[in-house]
Symmetry: C2
Subunit: 249 residues, 2 copies
DNA sequence: TCCGGGATTTGATCCAAATCAAAACCCGTG
DNA sequence: CACGGGTTTTGATTTGGATCAAATCCCGGA
């Protein structure tokens, strides 16, 4: 992406600051912004809000007013069925945009819960729409973000519909690894912010199954696990595990 | 939704014609359009394309140039995994918009296959983005459509992650029923355009399981099935079936 | 109309993951 | 620093759906 006309190096610097302020590189960095757009994004992105571990960012059924970009921390979103069943629909970290589900009906369709103390940027949807009207590249980028969520969902469906327990867990660990790497953290060593039960819910499995699979990976020297700390020892073997009708161990 | 200022009854008529031409009520009817917008939508929506049963509308990996609104017919979209596994990610009918997955990377991330002879309207993405820039209410509506797809996906995840075989099938039948009803067709009697195997793929089950569950529903007088023809006898019982840890029959 | 191949049904058996159960562990808190 | 509740591990058993197998059905094409 070449730098945009009318965007001085100083502007670029300010933009990066504004965006990194809110970990919004996802949302605004790729958009070519002029001076005015820059200021507008600045303003848009400035409402911060801290959330304590265990607190809800929003609840299913609540009215939509804003989207939320995660600045720091870790969250989950859960879909609920009236009968009380619930399913973790995703885990979200720094830079992720949450609340897209609510645009369709102006009501949130899932719960968002902080898995550790976090901070988000509130982005009023109306302002975002206005701004992406004024800045076409922002509009495009916003569309890409929504589309990416759809693609992610398709991946989860494939996982839930066709994979065996160990494949699912391997895919999950590799996905986390990638996402940490993309944010400049270690791709091989990280802390699971969620419980075994939450992993299980996300992967359509029970917590015991998660625990057993982790133990097996450990035994086979694919990973090291101690509580919530995970170290990936053999990334390749983990990758190879996906797509095997049954283990070749 | 009150009628828009500057939109004469004749305009409304033309708009409805233009939209129903392509079954695009989803895409443009709710948007308040002025005379000029109207003409633009007309133009945007005018590229028709027939597809024969079994043909691909697009394939995973192909470049994105257009979205597609289904005018008539029935399609499926399938996500593929490199190892050959595939999963039906959705079934699409009249009025549905396909191709949203491709916006994120300008490449299609799934296959789209016609399950019967169909006709779609090709909507060049660039033109749609331009137009939704010119017509804010169209922009909003487009966002809602993408968001709705995300919500739908969450529902599928819940289904795949938490429901038992019979619950999944009941949910599937009820969903089809609703969608047919919304399009003015019978909500109780319809033709399955897909095979048992495709239903199974969508629901994360094997074709034999689908067949058995359909038979059981038939035995219990919830539905009548003969080949691909389905008649729902006891909609309430079918609804009640969802959310039962195990059958109360 | 008859033929052939895919689609569907149904049965028997198997197996991966769920469930039930209990012990161990870990961490935050008083 | 000991207590207590939630989390995790591990084992034994059960089970829902997969798999294997075979008969039947149905529809499109010659």
């Amino acid at each position: 992406m070449p730098s945009q006309p009318g965007l001085s190096p100083i502007d670029v610097q300010r933009l990066k600051t504004a965006c990194s302020t809110c970990s919004l590189r996802e949302l605004c960095l790729p958009a070519g912004l002029d001076q005015r757009g820059l200021e507008q994004v600045d303003r848009l992105v400035n409402r911060r809000r801290p959330i304590r571990r265990g607190d809800y960012l929003y609840r299913s059924g609540a009215g939509l007013d804003s989207l939320y970009a995660i600045r720091t921390g870790f969250m989950k979103s859960c879909v609920l069925h009236e009968d009380g069943r619930e399913q973790v629909a995703g885990f979200h970290m720094m830079g992720d945009l949450m609340g897209l589900d609510a645009i369709s009906s102006s009501r949130h369709m899932c719960d968002a819960v902080a898995l550790e103390d976090s901070e988000v940027c509130e982005i009023p949807l109306a302002a975002l729409e206005q701004l992406s009207h004024d800045i076409p590249s922002l509009q495009q980028h916003f569309h890409r973000i929504m589309s990416r969520e759809i693609v992610r969902d398709y991946g989860v469906m494939l996982l839930l519909g066709t994979m065996r327990a160990e494949e699912r867990l391997a895919a999950f660990l590799l996905n986390l690894s990638q996402r940490f790497a993309a944010r400049g953290y270690s791709s091989t060593e990280f802390h699971l912010r969620m419980t075994r039960e939450e992993i299980g819910s996300y992967l359509g499995l029970k917590l015991e199954t998660i625990s057993r699979a982790l133990s097996r990976f450990h035994e086979e020297n694919l990973i090291e696990v101690r509580n919530k700390h995970v170290k990936i020892i053999d990334m390749e073997a983990l990758r190879g595990l996906i797509g095997q009708p049954s283990g070749a161990s």
